[in-house]
Amino acid sequence: MRIRVGHLYPEYLNIYADRGNIAVLARRAELRGHRLEVEAIGLGDELRPDDHDLLYVGGGQDREQALIARNLAAKGSAIREAVSDGAALLAVCGGYQLLGRGYRGRDGSVMPGVGLFPHETVAGTTRMIGDVLLECELVPGERHTLAGFENHAGRTLLDPRAAPLGRVVHGFGNDGESGFEGCRVARAIGTYLHGPLLPRNPWLGDWLIAQAVAHATGSEPPVFPVLPDELADEAHRVAAQRARARGGRR
């Protein structure tokens, strides 16, 4: 079947190889007999809440992020509505920050956010840079790890009852202190992990595709047959070992 993907501001938010994540989603959907239809949503485009099964928001350099922040915030109600109606979403790094309530700079200025994720981000004085390893349990009883790379000055502070994406095994995570990384609301995932994230963590790509299919069909997320992923497993193993050896220390 057709999976409709809305890719927000690909011209502006593409700093950490976001197209790698899209390539993984497209290829793995195809191997399950689905077709990913990716629509670029730019500054002048309208976003309608029921037009997409999956939304993608990448990260940008500060300058590019500042150019789209207000436009994104204005699309906020459509994004929140899409997610509450069951659309899947992946937001990485800058996109993850901007989907929270807002970003407070060191000069006190506030960049408004979308208000999807229950968090706010505060600029820090040092950047948190390095390999990261997380442990996640998106489906109760199914534990997985995510290996990625983080590079952020912002400290993202989750609200007390917010659900993180995972527990930090090695690396900094949301704020370098809480021991948690990312955030999850329904079928929406936000994270600092790039690398890009999905090639070496294909299980998360499959989870997102299954959620998008569930949105498209209105039924339960399908369970996909396993694909041969030796190379991804090897890439994951090396990245996880990097996180152990040289990830950020809390």
Partner: protein, 448 residues
Amino acid sequence: MERAAARAVGRLSRAAGRGGGTTLPGKLLWKLDPAAVDALAARLPLGVVLQSGTNGKTTTTAMAARILGAEHPLAWNRAGANLLSGIASALLAADGAKLGLFEVDEGALPEAMRRTRPRVVGLANLFRDQLDRYGELELVAERWRDAVAALPSETRLVLNADDPVVADLAGERVSVLRYGLDDRRHARPSLQHAADSKYCLRCGAPYVYEAAYVGHLGDYRCDACGHARPPLDVAAREIELHGLQSSRFTLGTVQGQIDVELALPGLYNVYNATAAGALSLAAGASLESVRAGLEGFSAAFGRFERIAVGSRTLVMLLIKNPAGANEALHTLETGVPPVLVVALNDAIADGRDVSWIWDVDFEPLLPHAQHVVATGERAAELGLRLLYGGLPRERLEVVPALERALDRGVELTEAGDELVVLPTYTAMLALRGILTERGLVRPYWEPR
């Protein structure tokens, strides 16, 4: 006293066979007495020339060395050791030098400018590069702006007018030489994926390109506020590219024009040659010595080196960031070799964050390559990149050990054919080390 000690360490390090000792004595001097760099630089009677930029530093500086070195003995960091310690080593090693010529790491440029008090500073381009090390492009640009503002007004700036951020560094300064390309036949149909600096510096609207040559470098203008590429003082025109072999162009300057035959392929090497020409003219070279120097130049180490391996030719092209890698790959477009070895390491000098390989446009190459050997510490990651880019699984071999991958590449290449090797920085050093051990290339610290 400290300088003598540092020189002795350099000799010892070479004698011990540890990588030529290009930075060890400099590191020592730098540690013992950082101000010695200032003093050594100040002793050069013809002063110091610096060259920086994300891509092309080593080649541009080596070309300028060929031009300027014909007339004056140089202190030059030929092996690409481009931090302050590398500059210190080059200064220590060059007894009797008249002119200092140094390529400088983008991050180290402000301090290098403060300490060496350059007569001429060449700035070529800013691309996203090793974000885990340098941070965002805007951060580097900001530090450059501050450093340039602190230069005395008589310092000559040689700026690439085709890069909006670099061209803008001129500000109100008078002593500026601007260079660029002027040949629309070589413009790319569109900006590359994930191009940098594509929004107007003044107002944020997207730039309109009359011609985009390499990444975001080109003839840009903003329709919203009128900001545009400034007029060129030194321009490469009538450019002809001859595949993987060579190129030729006309270099137009205020002193007249010259035709240049370059033994290097690719538009980015025309950029490097134009930059080297402009830099040398600003440093006082004649137009004729620019021509002679550029025509006598072959390759900087690891950058388009051709190495005979038995009856095969190994062509090594360093890849280190998306823009540079894309240009290296563009030169392969006409006549893709059937066998490629791509090597991805993730040491600090390569960038620990390997996500940049996804911004490299491998796609046009993959349908033509019969065999691709992915190697290096992050070989599996690279293999995934190539598979998702459309390379059929049966044409990909993942061989993490560099030496085995090199041998496998040679084995897959037919006699008389070319094997193209695309390594990141530390992988390039390691591969050159292997080739040196086998007696196929000269060690990099020895002059050609």
